[in-house]
Symmetry: C2
Subunit: 327 residues, 2 copies
């Protein structure tokens, strides 16, 4: 949650002049994004009626060669009526530009707020929106390898070292030891594949009342199992923040919402309990790595991997029951 780079008003004015969006009238650095700096930009608009945008500067982690995948995906989905922000192209047609050696993109601003405690109605709509973008991406021709699959989790744990992980918590080390081998061995190979969001946390969903007004932050989007995307959303939405409490009503609503748009096949339904354990392990892996490699006083808030160890245990105990009514 930070703005890493200072952009002067003069720099912003010059940048905005490269787009057909009117003149700059306001720019506020916003406290969103871990690897990006973001500004909420207001302009006079193309026809003088005012317009708002998010300006994103890609600071870390993102390989510029992958930007066309993310930005084209937004355009593809927006053009098909999905609630995602379209990329604004500059006067030369570029989806992103270079600014002082960093890539920046101007992206549509969407109304809505991120909810902390979803209602069942909202969870249903989120499940439906997830299926909607998966279906709309069916004819999206670009692909991107998921770089956070089971062997990548193992690599992250190896980089941490099990001693450092046990230093966070013995229970953390135990859970990894107990579940990672089976995930590596039994991870499916032949489920339906497509373009997935892969990070559909409440932070990345904007709602207006019960309507999903925006799905944002597609920077983990990739080509992988469609049902894994649902498993990630499930682990993100259907528990209390620290993972101690499973919320069956929210779970049922999310799954029903997804099923209202896309029907899982038998293999996908059978795989859900395993995929959900994998989704929990994926966040255990990145959070453990970040926990060990981020100084406690850094600008970025460290997230506790134990929140996902608790989810993993719920999935282990509940099995297919966590995915009623689908299984």
């Amino acid at each position: 949650m930070a703005v890493y780079t200072h952009l002067s008003a003069e720099t912003l004015e010059e940048l905005i002049a490269e787009y057909d969006v009117g003149k700059l009238v306001s720019a506020k650095g916003i406290a969103e994004g871990i690897s990006n700096s973001n500004w909420l930009i207001e302009t006079t608009g193309k026809d003088g009626e005012g317009a708002r945008f998010i300006l994103t500067m890609y600071e870390y982690r993102i390989d510029i060669e992958q930007l066309p995948f993310f930005l084209n995906l937004l355009d593809h989905l927006a053009a098909r009526g999905c609630p995602v922000p379209a990329t604004i192209h500059d006067r030369q047609g570029n989806a992103y530009r270079d600014l002082d050696g960093k890539a920046v993109a101007l992206i549509e601003f969407l109304q809505g707020v991120s909810i902390g405690h979803p209602t069942a109605e909202q969870a249903f709509e989120v499940g439906a929106a997830l299926a909607q973008i998966q279906l709309a991406a069916d004819d999206f021709t670009m692909t991107r390898t998921n770089d956070l699959r089971p062997p990548d989790w193992r690599d992250l744990f190896d980089k941490c070292g099990m001693e450092a992980i046990a230093g966070i918590s013995e229970k953390l080390a135990d859970s990894i030891g107990a579940h990672l081998p089976a995930l590596l061995q039994r991870w499916p190979e032949d489920l339906p594949i497509g373009t997935i969001h892969a990070d559909l946390f409440p932070d990345n969903v904007l709602v207006l009342g019960n309507t999903v007004s925006g799905l944002i932050d597609f920077y983990f989007a990739c080509t992988d199992f469609l049902a894994y995307d649902l498993a990630v959303a499930h682990t993100a939405w259907c528990f209390s923040a620290d993972g101690s409490e499973f919320r069956p009503d929210i779970s049922a609503a999310l799954l029903k919402g997804y099923a209202s748009k896309r029907t899982l096949n038998d293999e996908e339904r059978a795989a859900l309990p395993l995929l959900a354990k994998g989704a929990a392990m994926r966040f255990i892996a990145t959070r453990s790595y970040d926990w060990i490699n981020t100084p406690a006083e850094a600008l970025v808030m460290r997230k506790n991997p134990m929140d996902y160890v608790r989810r993993l245990r719920h999935y282990d105990a509940l099995g297919a029951q966590a995915f009623a009514p689908l299984t």
Copy 2:
């Protein structure tokens, strides 16, 4: 530059419902304010046409008993046509509310951007706007003691200890030793007094082209010498950021702008060189204190006191010449 507190959408919706501003449609934490958390809030507006506000949560430093001074001042100036954001009062007429034990205020959103490198035209308008708010505050009846006057600078240096200050830089310690005694001894006692902004840095001014669209962040406002306010603005605007370069054209424009609205008397003009050294010393004092008391890795960016030692030296060398054409 941080948002210290997380407010859920549900909490924000309940809060906004206490005001006659329509329903919440967007909330973004913005990276502004050192002692506050701020959100850019969008609502459907009173009549459904949309409206925007800044929600400020007072986190540190601000004594809640002083909040009425700051917020009433905004209302007073806004009612007199000054480009400052008015406070939005809740349905019961309160200018601020309690939220989880912290005070929050909803404040008008003003368009405009903070300029990094002012033109002479912009500096003229800023000088004129400063005089405008001083004049408009003439019948403001509340007062607030300036808690950053010369004896307070001395107390801050005492709290730091000269050893720690010399640890930042020997030149810093030398400059304090060379100039603080004279400032304490010769500080004026009988210049015209009024309500002053006392912190009119470029960060706190919004412009649209050459028009000043907003003066913001009145949380150092107090009752003190009107000419000292001009001296603070002068030290903030008329140098390169690190203080190494004096900008006579910007200085002349700022002073002419001020003089276009309010005429300094002879005593004020004669005092300007001393007041400007004092303004530089005030920022040397707070920056030295913050430098010593803020861990290097903290969320807040430390500002180098040496930037103001360089300004102090310019004022010492230039004397009244820094305030041509007024002196």
